[in-house]
Symmetry: C2
Subunit: 109 residues, 2 copies
């Protein structure tokens, strides 16, 4: 990611899980989609992306297999596992909880 990591860290996993919930995708595809839907606010660089994918796979939240992109290029396709869906739900809940708390600080009194 670019600078916004100064403001929001640890949300990369959540964004990746959520993106792969929509459909299986290859690594670069995940990063592209995140950049598009956030209008460039989040730009996930390869050096952040692949370590994160491996981390998530290591925890059993993703599965991968070699396949190809829509353009027919060789690529590794990542799929959200059942455990990954549960993790996604948990992280979503936690994100909302944390954001609500943050808003209490910003708007309170």
């Amino acid at each position: 990611m670019n600078k916004p990591s100064e403001v929001l860290q640890g949300t990369l996993d959540l964004m990746i899980l959520r993106t792969l919930e929509l459909r299986p995708m290859h690594g670069v595809g995940v990063a592209e989609r995140i950049r598009q839907v956030t209008n460039g606010v989040f730009v996930v660089k390869a050096g952040s992306l692949f370590p994160a994918l491996h981390r998530l796979e290591g925890k059993g939240w993703l599965e991968s297999q070699w396949g190809q992109t829509e353009e027919g290029r060789r690529a590794k396709l990542y799929t959200l596992t059942r455990a990954g869906k549960a993790q996604l739900a948990a992280e979503k809940r936690n994100f909302r909880r944390v954001f609500h708390a943050m808003n209490q600080v910003l708007e309170g009194e």
Copy 2:
């Protein structure tokens, strides 16, 4: 902070600046207020708090002077500077921007 740092990092500065916007306070008081208004979601530990206060003071966003707490105990009182107010406004804007982008990822499609 306790575990939620896994979800939201880099927002400690913002929370401190915002808390000191309300009124000058001593370090422990800042941490206490954050814990209260977030119902314990954010618990800022001393090992995070004081380095952050020094960091913010070093950047000219806070000023400090020795005084005492409401209970009459010796303490260092922190005050938001003019530059600190500008920084707070900027970080607030950025937080909302980042949160909005995050929501696009979570809710989109």
